[in-house]
Amino acid sequence: MSVHASWYLTLAALLFTIGAVGLLVRRNVLVMFMCVELMLNAANLTFVTFARALDDIGGQVAVFFVLVVAAAEVVVGLGIIVAIFRRKVGATADDAHMLKG
């Protein structure tokens, strides 16, 4: 039993879109960042699918790099989020709009 690759790609595209929309509609910075993770993983799924379809190991290896980068982003991102919201408890991304124009 095999599922055609296009299903995986569609799922990945769907996940990617959900992530993007989530980033647009949510206000909690942490949740926004989780949406970015979702998008990255959608890209990973695409990589793996194509690697299988092309019978090429390169796409699968790329996933590791994306995961590492995602981890690094989490580290830095959490640091920044903590630094900002230490002074405002329960703040959302929308509370930071001092810079505009």
């Binding site: 993007a20 960042f33 090429d56 190991i57 390169g58 290896v61 980068v69 991102g77 900002i84 810079l99």
Partner: protein, 565 residues
């Protein structure tokens, strides 16, 4: 078993297939500049951690400048190799050593030589101790270098992240200031978002071409005539989004003004220079050398991006009263000019873009350094009114800033003139007349806001009656006179003469300057400039004038860089 998708593919293939582990040959000399930066960064970090008491910021700055010089030398050695032996790939074909890459290695090295000087003065004034700025700058620089020499989309992605993540932190370096944190948060969220889009673009491109290696993609595309593959074009579009975000092209620019304004000023200058260098390096390489067969598809998109970027950057900058934010918008305008060269997609266009990026890096670093100096403690206030009378209070600083601004406006006898000239000329040669005209128009609009700052600096009185031509003329004359006076003191003859000449030429432009708040702030802010900042400014202004009067060496450098692709 194909085992040929770059370093990783080869590695993994050998692991899985032959049973033995065969590492690719690592030719360290090809990534020596990057290694110097990263190794030096580790040493600085270790020294900072092991030192019993905090080291003064100048020590780190000196070390960083030294590393910049070392990587510059290493880059020039590579340049010699490339010019004598031609371009080659290394480390399982994931690294390109060609003129194009080395050009950007040189640009990044130069940024790393100048930027720490500006940072040292600022960090000392602000009382920010520690090695963070320098360490982050070095990491970021190595990321930009990887982007420039990468021959693999995955490596470009890694370079992009190595470049960007330190920039997020740099934006939030001054955590006592709320704006700095806000800038970091915005940059981070949007940056991560654009990275995700970029990765997805790589995935789609990989799926359509079967490789992430640029050379292999290029070979694949030349074997198979693909013009309307949705996956490939979609992937390409998303790649473009990632790059456009990094270089702040409209409509992916919206983070730029806020982040530039909120970040500590030397960090702003650094990120403006570095992110554009890295972003444009990868953008130009990927689109011009890897996807030339799809040019008919991407050229119109770049055309639109360039126009939007040129126009919006100039038009919104003109209504800013905050000089720092104005410069942020002006950097968007500059990105549009670099895109002109990409749109032309000719050797001349690319050479023009390279030249532009180099010139712009030094201009923007120097400009933000002056902004940092005038802005006062804690980046308190960057309103244009703070610049009033600067020509009298700090004539040398004001003339230096005037030269940098005039260069950004494209005044003759500065590098800015030739940089604009070459990209516009390339656009004309490529028959993109509309684009060339719009670019010239935006340069004209841009001249307003640069000159506005220049006039304010050299005027002592309020300029509420801004539409008074004769008054404006008087101020221009005074600007010239001050410039001339300073010229005699400092023998920066051509700068002063050029400045006054240009000011005279554009005298009527003055009428369009927005009215300033009437005079009412008699207390003039104290402006202090440390020797470090002075040294950096001398370098930036000197390069602007020297290569403005004698542009050919840099032009040749950029031109050769495009020949040895």
């Amino acid at each position: 078993m194909t085992g040929s998708t770059g370093v990783l593919g080869a590695l993994a293939a050998h692991l899985l297939g032959a049973g033995g582990l065969v590492l690719p040959h690592l030719n360290y000399s090809t990534i020596l500049p990057e290694l110097i930066l990263l190794g030096g960064m580790l040493v600085i970090l270790a020294a900072s951690a092991l030192s019993p008491r905090p080291l003064p910021t100048e020590v780190y700055a000196t070390a960083t400048v030294g590393l910049g010089i070392a990587s510059l030398i290493a880059s020039l050695v590579l340049w010699r190799d490339v010019t004598s032996h031609g371009a080659f790939t290394a480390i399982a074909r994931s690294i390109d050593v060609d003129g194009f890459a080395v050009f950007f290695l040189v640009v990044v090295s130069c940024i790393l030589i100048v930027a720490p000087m500006f940072a040292a003065g600022y960090l000392r004034r602000e009382g920010i101790t520690g090695c963070e700025y320098y360490v982050l700058a070095l990491i970021s620089g190595s990321g930009a270098m990887f982007m420039a020499s990468a021959n693999d989309l995955i490596l470009i992605f890694l370079g992009l992240e190595i470049l960007s993540i330190p920039l997020y932190v740099l934006a939030g370096l001054d955590h006592r200031r709320e704006a700095s944190g806000e800038a970091a948060m915005k940059y981070f969220v949007l940056g991560a978002f654009s990275s995700a889009i970029f990765v997805y673009g790589i995935a789609l491109t990989y799926g359509a071409t079967g490789s992430t290696n640029l050379a292999e993609i290029g070979a694949f595309l030349s074997r198979n005539v693909i013009t309307s593959n949705g996956v490939l074009l979609g992937g390409l579009a998303l790649l473009l989004v990632g790059f456009a975000f990094k270089v702040a092209a409209v409509p992916f620019h919206m983070w730029t003004p806020d982040v530039y304004q909120g970040a500590p000023t030397p960090a702003t200058g650094f990120m403006a220079a570095m992110a554009k260098a890295g972003g444009f390096a990868a953008l130009l390489r990927v689109f011009v050398s890897t996807f030339p067969t799809l040019r008919t598809s991407w050229q119109p998109v770049v055309w639109v991006l360039a126009i939007l970027t040129l126009v919006l950057g100039a038009v919104v900058a003109i209504v800013q009263n905050d000089v720092k934010r104005m410069l942020a918008y002006s950097s968007i305008n500059h990105a549009g000019f670099v895109l002109l060269g990409l749109e032309a997609a000719t050797a001349r266009g690319i050479a023009g873009s390279l030249y532009y990026v180099f010139v712009y890096s030094l201009l923007v670093l120097g400009s933000f350094a002056v902004v940092a100096a005038v802005g006062g403690n804690g980046d308190a206030d960057h309103d244009i009114s703070r610049y009033r009378g600067l020509g009298r209070r700090r004539p040398v600083l004001a003339v230096g800033f005037a030269i940098l601004l005039l260069a950004q406006a494209g005044a003759p006898f500065t590098t800015g003139f030739f940089s604009k000239f070459y990209v516009v000329e390339a656009a004309v040669a490529a028959h993109s007349y509309a684009l060339a005209v719009i670019a010239m128009g935006s340069a004209g609009v841009a001249a307003f806001f640069y000159l506005r700052v220049v006039f304010v600096m050299f005027s002592d009185v309020g300029i509420a009656g801004a539409s008074d031509v004769s008054r404006g003329g008087g101020e221009i004359a005074r600007a010239g006179a001050v410039a001339a006076e300073v010229r005699e003191q400092d023998a920066t003859l051509l700068g002063g003469a050029g400045a006054s000449a240009v000011a005279t030429l554009v005298a009527p432009a003055y009428v369009a300057a927005p009215e300033l708040a009437p005079e009412g702030t008699p207390s003039e802010p104290e402006v202090s400039v440390s020797p470090w900042v002075t040294t950096g400014l001398v370098l930036c202004v000197g390069a602007t004038l020297v290569f403005g009067i004698w542009p050919q060496p840099l032009v040749d450098f950029a031109h050769q860089a495009t020949l040895i692709f």
